[in-house]
Amino acid sequence: MSELELRVAGEANLPATGWTLAWSDRSRGIARISDGRRSVQVLVEGAGSAWVVTLRGRRIPVAVRTWREQVMADAETTAGGGGGPIEVRATLPGMVLAVAVADGDEVAERDPLVTIEAMKMQNEVRAPRSGRVSSVSVQPGTPVAAGALIMRIE
């Protein structure tokens, strides 16, 4: 499964090698990882491609996408504009720093929509496809939970 694309706090990253993971309580995302000498307890929360790993008390957002998801996402954006309204959601919990668009704006695929700050890192939410923006529900300073609806693109 080397096709997983990993982005830690918005930056492309390769997974650490030489570590093993053993689940302590899989249903709650609690595991112990070891490098062969020392081990540390970690918590991992999330679903699909959006995850948050808590390491020694620090919450680290990680995006994990399979090769297939990348292809499908590409196919969807290629077909762009054809579908009905889609919802744009926060990929991370954090604070909205900036909103680059307003209701009625036309956006192209990959245009920046909203900047969310999490873990002192700024993460851009981009347009999944082209269309017209509606129902913008955040403004700078709004705290958002992961998965919160930010706006729609019609």
Partner: protein, 528 residues
Amino acid sequence: MATSRSDPAASLRKDGQSHSPNEPPFRRLLIANRGEIAVRVIRACRELGIESVAVYSDVDVDALHVRMADRAERIGPAAPAESYLSIPALVDAARRSQADAVHPGYGFLSESAGFAEAVRDAGIVFVGPTAQTLATLGDKLAARQAASTAGVPIVPGLRVSLGDASLADLAEVGFPALLKAAAGGGGRGMRRVDSREQIADALARASREALSSFGDGTIYLERLLSPARHVEVQLLGDRFGGLAVLGERECSVQRRHQKLVEESPSPAVTPQLRESLAESARRIAGAVAFESAATVEFLIDADANHYFLEMNTRLQVEHGVTEAVTGLDLVAWQIRIAAGERLPPEVLAVQPRGHAFEARIYAEDPHDGFRPAPGSVATWEMPGGPGVRVDVGVSEGGLLPTEYDPLLAKLVVHAADRRTALARLGRALDETLIGGLQTDLSFLRWLVDEPGFAAGSYDTDLIAERWGDGPALSAEEAAIAAFVASEARRGMTREAAARTTGAPASDGDNRAWGARARREAVGRRRSR
């Protein structure tokens, strides 16, 4: 109100005598507070054989303290002014529940003379000092005066008010200075000012904050001693003049003038300084004739001079540190003193043993100026083992309301010496896992390994100078996070595959692990 009149313990109290040792000091005690301190008092009540009554605002209906108490009374909407700060609502709840005592906890109305008076007027015992003592010490300005009269050194300062023209006096205090609420505590209403020009604006803000937090906008200005160490002495006094001086707590790890980590004994306090602090504390206590638990706070400068800051006539958040080194239950003693008991010789002469730390776990982002980060607690794993005590105010699935203090839990560790206690704190923090919201755990874990802190060498500038917003995410941490997230994703994919082949799988691939709130269907509204 008729209840306590017919209570035999109450009639004995009128004679200044102790209740019988075989019966509980009170029958039913109402806790005028919430969160972990309410839970703490409920536990003490249970051990003493007292029925506990919790109070709750609308957002706290399913809170841990409400679920733990024997009964609960609604006191109003979420806004503190209409619930936990409402004297009529609380006194009414105490009457309705026929409580014969009220414990105020810390914060909220714990130092309100008006509340103590209203409780006593209702024929109910207030667990704390008399209204008069509260009035003197609750007014930090009057307390400064009392300390000065008792021959205890105080930080230079003076009273200021909005539109005060006598700003020339400010030169005497000197800059930088600190604006403080006369009725204040807990760091609220405090503002640093570095020049005369900043006074008016800072004064208006501090006054507004003080008014909303304490119902009194009176402000005073005090020289800011910085860097300094913040050390406080714990006292326990009965109404017969018995006074136990229970050693000091070092409280210099602060952000926004609020404590995050405390320890006892202080690594900065020599035996001579310890005796001077105890003597100053005794003098102040003698000057105000207090009973119950109180803390005298001092600043200690680089030359080991100590200055009186304030005396808090209530339980402190960090009282567990003193409980660890003395073996005393301060909350139980507060209640027993309120019932008219005398402090026995073994309490008056208690000698602290070993070393204790407290780490406060707040829903705050230490990588963003300790900004409060309220939310729901999705995952909640607390440490255990020898020498580890955990006081919690929430449980898994619980909501942390934005209206109140974001304190989630307090870890207190105790060991024979500082080095062992610090290792124990690190171990306990490693066992602690909280999901769903950002906490200060990463700061706390960093602090344990910080060389200056490990050596006991730090002051009130520690966070600003050595932490800032914390170290940047290292390449190794990022790689480990990537590894863990990819493993989680792979595990999920395998389970989805198992499910499609008919194998039983408990986890669906669309389910959010960990983040899913396991909210218990409590729905109990236990008002009587």
